[in-house]
């Protein structure tokens, strides 16, 4: 987890033997006679004491109370005995395992008076209360972002509002400690450029994304998902510039797939598109904050949405894969079920589809088709994609009839071939529609692949949800799926 810090700082331990101890550790105290013997027999031995430079009694030690040696040598347990040669570590043992200490040192009767085994204690350099400070102290030079100083009397949360860094809700102040902690969630170099962020075409580094992930409230384990989602939206296919700048009410909708969604406790069930789950909410929010704060995409400026939608604060959820009768969205898009992925979709807010009576799959497919026809306008074909989030109770109707994902999508699309006569301009008393030239044609509501299916939601309720899309394809946006690293 701390690899990024270690790579930039030379290990301070010199060649020969090093032993890291602390007085507070009962195992360290127990092996004092062993330490004294090693000091006599191993001339190269340097003892580092974390909490008391007078420890061990009778043996000269180096004061490591700033934990520099412990941190850089990646010590997580004391005592730890290390042997280095030609600038590289050859061997180490942690805790007291008599057999190992004897083999390592070549002293056959070492510690004869001690028990065979005694576990060590936690190193002070991994103490959760101080590890963040150490990360900044010894790895802080990896941060390059401009530092913003705020006055001591200034309320830090109000300061973030005043400087325009928020989406309208409070954000977590991104202190160096918090940003370094977030960076522990990735093995990527903080200076790696992930993408060029619209609209200002700013190079987007891992560090910049980490800052916004902190502000959004993410945990470090969410960070790779945020990075993947940003990689996905900052592509020509997804076209985040247009999604941001459009007058339509869309934003990036992030659908997460794979076993990792369960490891980070994402919600794919009750209230899946609503509030209450930290991972869902903060991953989506980090994506939006990054575009706002790094890309410069702010409402009323390049963001010209006439109405927007509440999902532009955050719109991210996981697919319920384990309870689904269908192959998942990511598998349908060519990925393996064991892979973690994000699929980004330019979408508006969700609406509910109610059908509590359909027990035959054909009936429910017809309900879906009829509701999906109204996406943006019932007389506008082919222009917009849509995502159908099918609830478990609706999915069961198809499961009982052995309908696959492909069958369901085909049946819906078959019911969405729109006669030109119904959708030409003026038909049905509505000016909106297609040109007169199409009056004898049959036009599909969705382009091939333009209807996406995701299984998610609570187990009670014969409902599903529709998320309308935006201008589709090369003209506007294509859904983009990316692997989540690590």
């Amino acid at each position: 987890m701390t690899a990024i810090n270690k790579s930039v700082v030379k290990n301070p331990l010199s060649d020969g033997w090093s032993l890291i101890v602390k007085r507070e550790c009962a195992t360290c105290a127990m092996i004092v006679p062993v330490i004294a013997r090693l000091a006599r027999e191993l001339p190269s031995l340097t003892v580092y004491s974390q909490d008391d430079p007078g420890f061990p009694d009778g043996v000269e030690s180096v004061d490591d109370s700033d934990l520099a040696a412990s941190w850089h040598a990646d010590i997580d347990t004391v005592p730890t005995l290390i042997f280095r040669r030609d600038g590289a570590e050859v061997s180490r043992t942690a805790g007291w395992v008599r057999k190992e200490w004897r083999e390592l040192t070549g002293i056959a009767d070492l510690g004869a008076e001690l028990p065979e085994f005694r576990p060590g204690c936690g190193s002070m350099s991994v103490d959760p209360d101080i590890v963040d400070k150490l990360r900044v102290r010894y790895g802080g030079e990896t941060l390059h972002a401009r530092r913003v100083e705020i006055a001591e009397a200034e309320d830090e949360f109000e300061a973030m509002f005043a400087r325009g860094y928020t989406d309208g809700l409070p954000v977590v102040p991104p202190t160096p400690e918090r940003v370094m902690r977030m960076l522990a969630g990735t093995t990527r170099d903080p200076r790696d450029i992930v993408a060029v962020a619209p609209p200002d075409l700013v190079e987007l580094t891992i560090e910049k994304i980490a800052i916004n992930a902190v502000m959004a409230g993410c945990l470090p384990e969410y960070f790779p998902w945020v990075v993947a989602a940003i990689e996905a939206i900052c592509t020509d296919q997804f076209n985040m510039h247009g999604v941001l700048a459009t007058t339509m009410p869309v934003g990036p909708v992030v659908v997460c797939n794979g076993p990792g969604t369960r490891k980070i406790n994402m919600n794919s069930g009750v209230n899946v598109l609503g509030q209450g789950n930290r991972a869902n909410l903060t991953i989506g929010r980090a994506v939006q904050l990054t575009i706002r704060n790094v890309g410069g995409g702010r409402p009323g400026e390049v963001d010209r949405a006439a109405h927007g939608n509440p999902g532009k604060l955050s719109f991210c959820f996981a697919e319920d894969e384990l309870g689904s009768p269908f192959t998942s969205l990511s598998v349908a898009r060519g990925f393996d079920p064991a892979q973690n992925t994000v699929t980004t979709f330019a979408g508006e807010g969700p609406r509910c589809v109610v059908d509590q009576l359909a027990r035959q799959p054909e009936q429910l497919a017809q309900t879906f088709a009829t509701c999906l026809r109204t996406v943006h306008h019932p007389k506008l074909p082919f222009a917009f994609d849509a995502m159908l989030v099918i609830g478990p109770e609706h999915a069961r109707v198809f499961a009982e009839a052995n309908w696959s994902r492909e069958r369901l999508l085909t049946e819906i699309n078959d019911r969405l071939q729109l006669p030109g006569s119904e959708i030409v301009r003026g038909a049905g008393g509505m000016a909106e529609g297609v040109q007169e030239a199409f009056k004898d044609a049959m036009l599909p509501k969705f382009r091939p692949g333009g209807l996406l299916l995701v299984h998610a939601g609570g187990s009670a309720g014969l409902f599903s949800a529709i998320i309308g899309g935006w201008a589709s394809g090369a003209l506007g946006s294509d859904p983009v799926t990316r692997l989540v690293a690590g």
Partner: protein, 77 residues
Amino acid sequence: MRELLARPRSIVDQTIGLLDISKARGDVFLNQLESRLVAAGAKVLRFRKPTFTKPAPVDLRHEIATKCTLVIEALAD
């Protein structure tokens, strides 16, 4: 951020690029504009970007910057 250039005093003999962003009826607006500008003594060049949802491609921006002294972009429908 680069500083804006000073506004020209007159459009006579200026080369004005008209960028159609490919929104519906943008060409109708630009046709009107072109006839007015030509009548006022300007030279007009027409450009079109592939889709209104994406920024103009770099090559197109470069071409406009190279060939024109002024540019007018039809923004919306």
